[in-house]
Amino acid sequence: MANNMGGNDTLLDVQDLKMHFPMGRKGLIGGKHQYVYAVDGVSFTIKKGETLGLVGESGCGKSTTARAIAQLYKPTSGVVNLNGRDLTKLKAKELHAARKGMQMVFQDPYASLNPRMTSGDIIAEPMKIYSRKGLLAISKKEMDERVEQLMERVGLSRFFRNRYPHEFSGGQRQRIGIARALALRPELMLCDEAVSALDVSIQAQILNLFKDLQDEFGLTYLFIAHDLAVIQYISTRVAVMYLGIIAEISGSADLYKKPLHPYTQALLSAAPIPDPGIEKDRKRIILTGDVPSPDKERVGCYFYDRCWKRMDKCKESRPQLKEAEPGHEVACFLYHD
């Protein structure tokens, strides 16, 4: 993959990101504040041209992380450095200008497009907003041209620009969403489960599209999904999240060949492989219990309850993300000396 052309520039640097949602109090008056600890101290960096895959099950906080990075939620604490500027500290106007380089693609192709706008308007909207704020110099003619270029580039005929979302299929709608995200020529794309709602045959098309666009425009991706095979295919590096923290982060090939964290191992063993020969003989690690919800304050390792390799010290304190092998970090006492 011809990705790392730009050298070692870090595009996105996230440090100790936390997102705690207040849930009201216990009891009518006084009483302790309840929080949902959706994201509880997440740190990672993404270099230009890379794709970082963020994978985990429901409630792990991956979508919230993306939204906190995009400043759709105001992070409770932590630093989000895009091209060296901390987005959390910027005021509204500066934030708008900085955000131009970062766009999001959403999961639901049916809900992420305004049903009362034509596809052309949807794709043009980011340009309109930024041009009105004076942050983008573009004429109407140029805008129209760019809309048509983008549509062709993502595989939609430009003659469909006056059609409404409900006239398109799911895969086509997702392409509209991608075209919209590309309108401002961003550097970083946050793809939140962008292929999870698509049929298998369409998913393959869209994944290929993502890769092609990355090669052509030099894009950097934060790609979120719950399907491990999809993440492996699209990512250069992968971070596994559990209950608001990163359990393990490493290069894509490494993670799949040699998963270190018990949770990652369980996850990989549970993921089905479309090969009856392999499936019949597979030894699965079956985790006990359910995926817990992130609304309790925890002491100790978050995975303690379900971990079959747990030790006493795992109950007492929370393991930090540390490098166990070059380029391979894991948050587990099994690997801390």
Partner: protein
Amino acid sequence: MANENNRAVNEFNQQVKPVSLWADAWKRLQKNRMALAGLWITVLFAIVGIAAPVLPIADYQKVETDFINLPPSLKPAGEVALSEASLNIDRIQSRIVEGRNDLLPALEQAKASYDKLKSDLSVKSTANNVYIFGTDYLGRDMLSRTIYGGRISMLIGLIGTITAVLIGVIYGAVSGYLGGRIDNLMMRIVDIMYGLPYMLIVIILMAMFMKEGSSSIFILFIAIALVSWLTQARVVRGQIMSLKNSEFVEAARSMGASTARIIFRHLLPNTLGVIIIFATLSIPSFIMNESFLSFLGLGVSAPLASWGSLVKEGADRMESFPWQLLVPATAMTVFLFAMNFLGDGLRDALDPQSKNRA
């Protein structure tokens, strides 16, 4: 690759023409016969109401003492008046025959009226008027009174609805979008206002500001509009709150759309369906409210008429002159039915959960 995709798309996936959501809804509305009938009737009433001053009907305010309480008829008024008068004479005569001699002076009077009427009519030009729906107790044409009454009633319905929509939509949109404590406060105000005895307040207001002619309508509008926006506000707020969290709103926010843009470009257009449905169904509600007030004697005052006031006048005399009640009542009922069917039909046609949506 783009070309391959386009080729494949055109097989089996042909969309005929771009169909906006409104056109789609219109198509569906057309399939609903009752709703369509409702639509045409409403349109008919509206046209007649607007065109009333140029229609070839009698002046609705003109009092004709010679033509009071004429029944509906296609014959010229003069004939009808005369036949009524002679019927009267016959009635008195038959009672005298039964033994009521005290009525003899009445008979004389009746005969005298008859003769006077006959001579008056021979020189009157209006003797040839035709009162299709008869006349009221002051000789005014029921047809034109019903039409002009309709004008007022429909106007009340329309203005009341527009006021309710304007206030309600803005209030509800702001409350729903801002959420949190402000929303709480605004909705509590709505709750309190809901609890107020609406009719009582309107009656008090009307009684306080009761004056002649046009000012009574003005007060009427204000009184009704005061409480009418509440449901609209709630409905819009609910819709905005549920839309607020949709992904396309998130997408708009992620590209830095301002609050105003989100509300006017994203949220409200998707709320229009709900607003239209509610508006269509609230017009009949206003007309009914006004009728109720008129029934209490607090509606529009003479010589202006509304369906409500006409019904009241007719109800007072319905035993002797039933058409004075039936004509305005029927007109009002037909219109209300039509609007209700139309509203129901619109709700089905604009329903975002319909199976016909992709």
